[in-house]
């Protein structure tokens, strides 16, 4: 089971710049490592992350094997209206995870 931690302020003033922190549990196997028997471990990483604010994309990132395990990201957005901020991760071997957070804008 994938575990994701999201940190979005519950309340914000209109026009305020808020920081969003996300962390998801994933090994991010690089595909450059070998087992003790000399076989190459296949790549298994999260390659795309997208954040949407009430359905509109606000942030997108492409990950490469040089990202550390359990990828952590901090980014910002302007609090425009109350609603939902959704986060979506896609990766190798059909990996997919979605989380969302509610925000109230005054």
């Amino acid at each position: 089971m994938t575990r994701a931690l999201i940190n979005v302020p519950a309340k914000a003033k209109r026009g305020q710049i808020i920081a969003i922190k996300t962390l998801i549990s994933h090994t991010m196997e690089t595909g450059f490592r070998y087992t003790t028997t000399g076989e190459r471990k296949p790549r298994n990483i999260i390659h795309t992350f997208v954040a949407t604010y009430n359905g509109e994309e606000i942030f997108r990132a492409e990950f490469y094997p040089a990202m550390s395990a359990n990828p952590f990201l901090t980014f910002h957005t302007v609090a425009t209206e109350s609603g939902t901020i959704a986060f979506h991760w896609t990766g190798d071997n059909g990996f997919s995870a979605t989380e969302q957070a509610k925000i109230t804008v005054e």
Binding site: I17, I18, T30, F32, R33, Y34, T35, T36, Y53, E56, I58, F59, R60, A61, E62, F63, Y64, P65, A66, M67, S68, A69, P71, F72, L73, T74, F75, H76, T77, V78, T80
Partner: protein
């Protein structure tokens, strides 16, 4: 007697030296296998991204501790000096490295809705190397910053412990 002792001493010293050289020789192929990307590969990857455009130093701030103990999680913050208005904003931030198996680390895309062109994340670094951050602005210009990071224990080196 004394002469023969001296002779013995020299041989032992030579033996030790020879042993050290052999060890170094044995380690070299392993190092070659691990070093995938080179500064040239990084430059090629950056050239692919920016095309003909000119990259200027400045506007980008790359925050990485200069001395890192564990290359598996290296905290990194990239911020771009930009007003983030619809007319003038940062469109993307790319991070590259010189000595990991691949030159790319992360590419982030955003627009004026971001409010602040700052991204923080954690990287893997295989060796002591330069890390380069490149920002693409809405007017099509590219800006960069580079930091040399010293790694005590590189990522991907724990192969035998798996």
């Amino acid at each position: 007697m004394r002469d023969s002792m001296d002779a013995l001493e020299t041989t032992r010293r030579e033996l030790l030296l020879a042993g050290t050289l052999m060890l170094a020789g044995a380690a070299a192929p392993v190092m070659i296998r691990r070093a995938g990307a080179t500064p040239a590969a990084m430059k090629a990857e950056i050239a692919k991204l920016v095309g003909e455009a000119k990259i200027t130093q400045g506007k980008v701030k790359l925050d990485i501790p200069p001395l890192v103990e564990n290359g598996n999680t290296v905290p990194c913050t990239v911020s771009v000096d930009s007003p983030m208005t619809p007319a003038d904003h940062a469109k993307a931030i790319h991070v590259f490295n010189e000595k990991n198996p691949q030159p790319n680390v992360i590419s982030c895309y955003f627009g004026p809705r971001a409010g602040r062109a700052t991204v923080a994340t954690r990287l893997r670094l295989a060796d002591t190397q330069n890390v380069v951050a490149i920002a693409e602005l809405s007017d099509g210009s590219f800006w960069s910053a580079s930091v040399e990071v010293i790694i005590t224990l590189g990522a991907c080196l724990e192969d035998n412990l798996i």
